[in-house]
């Protein structure tokens, strides 16, 4: 970040300190324990456990033995990598961190301040609920013009599984969904000559872009379109219903989108994002990543979220 004069820089620095302290105090008082994320990660190890990281965008450094290290592009991966390999069965970790992530953004190296929460070893809907509530509590301290989008990608994953498409077809479809390209999706599905599944599943997939907005609207739409519902899909909807009821107790600014493709390939189940009106990047994102831990040999339930401090401070500046 560049400043015109010292006064501006010092004032920014002070505000960042206060903002950070407010959030850290809030989390500390809720019983979260602070961990300091490491700045360096091993390049090979990191990129093999987290395929979503664009290798080109990582910032590489060499140590004196010639091994390639990177400056951490994602704190969650680092924390999982730190604790999960030594996991003992009855451990529960309720952690929070403050750290920086580094990425090449085409122009230079972009440094991002992040505060986040990781709950490792905690399973169940109640944990999901509390995590989202904590996230909402933090965001709503700084603005009223926010929107939380909650999703569960098990719904979409189940439809895609039922549709039994090739990997290439799957990726094409995820692409259409990512860009909400309804006509493109319809044309693409129409052009696939033979399906290895019930046509009902394909119709359900074709209609999934309609399933966005209020949860009530989505549930009505599902009845109206009489799309296929498997046991898993039914379970997802019932879970969302309970979570919606709980979250509505503290805020009305909630929306859902069952077609949402999470760009983080480790999310598995509930995931959510926080937006603020007039700001063009998500301020917050998080979700459940149980299956991410399976690459260490055992599945450990885990959920977390991250707040983009460099974005939040812009709002903080405005509101003060």
């Amino acid at each position: 970040m560049k400043f015109l004069n010292i006064e501006e820089e010092i004032s920014f620095s002070e505000k960042m300190f206060v903002l950070r302290k407010e959030i850290e105090d809030l989390l500390f008082n809720k019983g979260y324990i602070f961990v300091e994320p490491s700045i360096f990660e091993k390049y090979d190890e990191f990129t093999s456990i987290n395929t979503r990281i664009n290798n080109k965008s990582t910032v590489k450094v060499l140590d004196n033995s010639g091994e390639i290290l990177i400056l951490s592009p994602d704190i969650t991966t680092g924390i999982v990598n730190k604790f999960v390999p030594r996991w003992q069965n009855d451990t529960n970790l309720k952690l929070f961190y403050y750290g920086k992530t580094y990425k090449h953004n085409g122009v230079g190296i972009r440094e991002n301040r992040e505060i986040g929460v990781e709950l490792i070893g905690y399973r169940g809907r109640k944990t999901d609920e509390d995590t989202i509530k904590n996230a909402v509590e933090i965001l709503s301290k700084y603005t009223n013009d926010y929107l939380i989008e909650i999703n569960n990608n098990k719904y979409l994953k189940e439809i895609l599984l039922l549709c039994n498409l090739s990997k290439k077809e799957n990726n094409e479809i995820l692409n259409f969904l990512y860009y909400k390209n309804k006509e493109g999706l319809r044309e693409y599905l129409n052009n696939i000559k033979s399906f290895k599944c019930n046509v009902n599943y394909i119709n359900t997939l074709e209609n999934i872009l309609e399933l966005e907005g209020d949860l009530e609207y989505i549930l009505n739409k599902i009845e109206l379109l009489s799309v296929y519902k498997s046991e898993v899909m039914d379970k997802v909807l019932n879970e969302l219903k309970v979570i919606d009821k709980e979250i509505k107790k503290i805020t009305k600014n909630v929306t859902y989108d069952l077609s949402m493709v999470s760009e983080l390939n480790y999310y598995d189940g509930i995931f959510f994002k926080g937006f603020v009106m007039g700001y063009n990047t998500p301020i917050m994102s998080g979700g459940r990543y149980d299956s991410f831990t399976t690459q260490y040999g055992k599945e450990i339930p885990a959920i977390g979220f991250t707040i983009e401090l460099d974005e939040l401070i812009k709002i903080y500046n405005k509101e003060k």
Partner: protein, 210 residues
């Protein structure tokens, strides 16, 4: 909740404006004036008249909530935006053209391709395993093969008349192009109802062109 719509100048924009005005929206827009921003106070909508290649930039950065852009520009810029409705106007093709009879694919040759659409062309030929050298041009692309600057061109073809007049022909069609209603990803979440309403209005008018 107010909405801002980015409209490209030129024929695509004119068609869009007349669609909106047919539906009683944006009566204040006057393309002949030099103004670039118009407001429809009744509907609480702001219209921005922009250069067609800038529409995506304004929408991606959230200055405009939605916009009208060609699919060619969307593919080329690879922007993070929603493609909410594929329109029946602005129809044309993106094609490979060259001197009559020119063979495109040859694994022993590095094909010289002149185009405005460098990213789209790179991806297309990479998928087809054809080695190429891109020559970026901004206009009169048809001249490149004639004067020997390139082997082929990748360009938008509507009628093919310009190609014919310059002794070129379409060697292969790459993509169907059309106008698309695009939206900023975050605006869409906050203003979903209003954006859907506008798209329904556009759709009804647009279907007349189907």
């Amino acid at each position: 909740m107010s909405l801002s719509i980015a409209i490209p100048k030129g024929r695509l924009g004119e068609q869009t404006i007349s669609m909106l005005q047919n539906a009683g929206i944006g009566k204040t827009i006057d393309e002949k004036s030099r103004k670039l921003v118009f407001e429809d106070k009744n509907k609480d909508i702001k219209f921005l008249l922009l250069k067609n290649s800038d529409v995506i930039t304004y929408v991606e950065n959230g200055i405009a909530d939605i916009g009208i852009s060609g699919k060619d520009m969307i593919m080329e810029q690879g922007a993070d935006i929603y493609e909410l409705y594929k329109m029946n106007i602005g129809k044309c093709k993106m094609s490979i053209a060259g001197i009559k009879g020119k063979k495109i694919f040859n694994e022993n040759e590095v094909l010289k391709v002149a185009t405005k659409f460098t990213e789209t062309a790179k991806k297309y030929f990479l998928n087809k395993n054809q080695k190429i050298k891109i020559i970026k041009l901004n206009g009169s692309i048809e001249l490149a093969p004639i004067l020997g600057l390139s082997d082929v061109i990748v360009d938008i073809v509507e009628t093919g008349n310009t190609l014919k007049a310059n002794g070129l022909e379409v060697l292969e069609d790459m993509y169907n192009i059309n106008a698309v209603v695009i939206s900023n990803m975050i605006s869409y979440k906050f203003k979903r109802e209003k954006i859907k309403e506008i798209i329904n209005i556009i759709r009804q008018e647009d279907l007349k062109f189907a």
